[in-house]
């Protein structure tokens, strides 16, 4: 029997190939699959246009107009420059002629024209409703802060470490300010108008979502170094001195250096780290695309508790509409428990939150405790969950650490990567040598659950960090719940 033809020959309808397929079972299967694929092309061709939202159209048009206006201004600018050049040439010609002919010329009087004062139309300001509150958060004027509080223009918020507060100012639009484990966060609502919102973030992190409602052409976050403008989107900003980190989860944002330097467009899913120019150092930036898995995790972490709002009633303020359709719930259980509502993790207990009226599933989880699941009905009267968490049955005692040979086998397998950690730093410091002792805590499956540095004579933070990152993926099959301490000796060859 002759050799089987390539599938593309079957797709082409090559006679010899088809003849071969008549007698060859494998080729018959291949031919059937090729035909099925070709049939499917027809289905793809006939697929109707997918539905798209009008809000995105609004957002696109909103951002296009100033851009086009800028382009035409540039064109106009070139035309003016041309005219000015021609004018200068004529003046020069006249001056030269006058000079040569030595005739007196009447002085030219230039009248000073005062530019007209721009007319500023005052815009009404909006109020933002607090929808989530946990940890220590305080308002600038020491007003008490709760899920009933209305935030207005000029209000400044300070979230202590691990404190968080979310607020919503319009349909689908709001922010979540949070202090991290390392630093607190400070934000001022500098502008809160239907047509312009500006949040000034002095430090810490703020997550922002801007809905597609047509009344919001410009929302912006300003950090000490940068200005981040929004195009119908969802993003997070961290500020630390002149360094600004921006992660975009949906849509596009525009990041510009406040000292008037460069402007960068960031499209989802991506992360940009921007260092503004200052202290005689030039501005720097690095933009990376977020991997799909990281993007999903980052979005889950950036949950703003945005509430749905009933169809807009123009006569009522947004805050009133939101109050009418929602209620509050306080979750007050033992500290450090994670609270999730309807499957979405919102933060650490104790916390207060606002949710739309109806039944919601509240889940509270804490390591070492049995999870607590409660259905609650949120209505006009405030609800609360105050229950102690029950300790989980004690887990299996830690087993003996795996044999040295088993540890060495895992280390040997990853030797190249460990060596790479060291060699990277060795390039900068050719004398770098010493011992780094790594402590690895294994979980019930023998995976590394936690790694720490037990001691280092190397004195190089980069190598230690790289080692810990590398060790995070290791698995020791016979070392369940055990702790391993292993020294790595590094010296140049």
């Amino acid at each position: 029997m002759s050799r089987c033809p390539k599938p593309v020959a079957l797709a082409r309808g090559d006679e010899a190939a088809l003849e071969h397929a008549d007698t060859c079972e494998d080729c018959q299967t291949a031919l059937a699959r090729v035909r099925m694929a070709e049939d499917t092309f027809g289905l793809i061709r006939d697929m109707p246009a997918p539905e798209t939202s009008d809000s995105r159209a609004e957002a696109t048009l909103r951002w296009t107009r100033p851009h086009l206006a800028l382009a035409s201004t540039r064109r106009l600018g070139f035309a003016f420059a041309g005219l000015a050049l021609a004018g200068a040439a004529v003046t020069l010609f006249v001056v030269m002629r006058t000079h040569w002919s030595k005739k007196a010329v009447a002085p030219v009087v230039v009248e000073k024209v005062t530019p007209p004062t721009p007319i500023v139309v005052p815009q009404p300001t909006m109020k933002a409703v607090v929808t989530l509150l946990g940890g220590e958060v305080e308002l600038s004027d020491r007003r008490p802060l709760g899920t009933e509080t209305l935030l207005g223009e000029g209000d400044a918020l300070k979230a202590a470490r691990n404190g968080f507060v979310a607020a919503q100012w319009a349909e689908g639009s709001g922010f979540l300010l949070r202090g991290t484990a390392q630093t607190d966060a400070a934000l001022t609502l500098s502008e809160l108008k239907p047509r312009a919102q500006r949040l000034d973030l002095a430090r810490g992190r703020v997550d922002v979502r801007v809905g597609g409602h047509s009344l919001v052409p410009v929302a912006a976050v300003a950090t000490p170094g940068h200005l981040i403008r929004v195009r119908g989107t969802w993003f997070a900003v961290w500020a630390s001195g002149l360094t600004t980190t921006v992660e975009v989860y949906e849509g596009t944002v525009e990041v510009s250096d406040r000292s008037g330097g460069t402007t960068t467009l960031l499209s989802a899913p991506s992360r940009g780290v921007f260092i503004a120019s200052g202290h005689a150092l030039p501005a720097k930036s690095r933009v990376t695309t977020l991997a799909a898995r990281d993007a999903v995790a980052a979005r889950a972490h950036s949950e703003l508790n945005i509430l749905p709002v009933a169809p807009a009633d123009a006569a009522r303020a947004f805050a009133d509409q939101l109050f009418a359709g929602s209620g509050v719930l306080a979750v007050d259980v033992d500290g450090a428990a994670q609270v999730a509502i309807d499957g979405v993790e919102l933060g650490t207990a104790p916390l207060g939150l606002r949710k739309d009226v109806g039944r919601h599933l509240v889940e509270v989880s804490r390591h070492g405790y049995l999870p607590l699941r409660r259905w609650v009905t949120i209505g006009p009267t405030p609800g609360s969950i105050r229950e102690p968490l029950i300790k989980a049955p004690i887990e299996a005692p830690p087993s003996e650490p795996p044999a040295l040979s088993a540890i060495e086998a895992v280390v040997k397998e990853r030797r190249q990567h460990i060596r790479a950690c060291y060699e990277r730093s060795l390039k900068r410091d050719p004398q770098l040598a010493g011992t780094v002792t790594l402590q690895l805590k294994l979980d019930a499956h023998g995976r590394v659950a936690n790694s720490s540095i037990d001691g280092s004579t190397l004195g190089n933070e980069d190598v230690s960090t790289c080692l810990r990152r590398e060790a995070a993926g290791w698995v020791f099959a016979d070392g369940r719940n055990a702790t391993i301490v292993y020294p790595f000796v590094f010296r140049p060859q």
Binding site: K6, V8, L10, R33, T40, L43, R45, R56, A57, T60
Partner: protein
């Protein structure tokens, strides 16, 4: 119009934009809000369909890509020379944005069955399910092709465009397009012939909705 051979033949294609389109472009360039809205609503279904064909149905980022296409189109409208039909030019923008997207994220979101079901229709639910599954398999194969090969394959095999036209869209010489197409076909059909998901019955391990 029926020709003696019984097939409809297009003897000459209209080249360049119509007067109406020229007027629309001129107004858009001035930043006229109504014109921009008109442009958007007129071409939105076509652009959305094209993006869906190139990237695959049921993607979560379709709206983002659509927005990028229009932002790019509005931005480069000032550079539109008028040597092609407006829809062809927009198609070119569309393909370029999709290509960038493919390069950036090979597969951002897995195909979402619920969204997919909206796009693919067959008479009975059973057949509809089969059709959805087949479309999903085709895009799974296309995901394994490089973005450049994928684009020419879709334009030729699915949309039935000639290499010369494709060359105009992707901005490459005809010979390059033919080469890419040759390798794309070879690779696609090799993968398709080895794909059990294209057998008449349901793929193993697949759970019905």
């Amino acid at each position: 119009m029926e020709t003696p051979s019984g097939k409809l033949r297009v003897l000459s294609l209209p080249s360049g934009p119509t007067t109406e389109e020229l007027d629309l472009i001129a107004r858009c360039r001035e930043g006229d809000r109504t014109a921009l809205g008109e442009f958007y609503s007129r071409f939105r279904p076509d652009v959305a369909r094209n993006i869906q064909r190139v990237l695959g149905p049921g993607r979560g980022d379709l709206e983002d890509v659509l927005q990028d296409v229009f932002i790019e189109a509005f931005r480069s409208l000032t550079r539109f020379r008028g040597d092609a039909k407006l829809s062809t030019w927009l198609y070119r923008v569309c393909v370029n944005v999709a290509l960038q997207r493919l390069r950036k994220v090979r597969r951002l979101a897995e195909v979402d069955d619920e969204r997919l079901a909206d796009g693919v229709s067959e008479q009975t639910p059973e057949r509809g399910l089969d059709a959805q599954r087949r479309v999903k398999v085709i895009y799974r194969i296309l995901d394994q092709l490089s973005p450049k090969k994928r684009i020419v394959f879709i334009l030729h095999e699915i949309e039935g465009r000639e290499p010369k036209e494709i060359a105009g869209i992707v901005g490459a010489p005809v010979l390059t397009v033919r080469t890419r197409l040759h390798y794309a076909r070879k690779e696609f059909y090799r993968l398709a012939a080895a794909e059990p998901g294209l057998d008449g019955k349901r793929a193993p391990g697949e759970v019905s909705a």
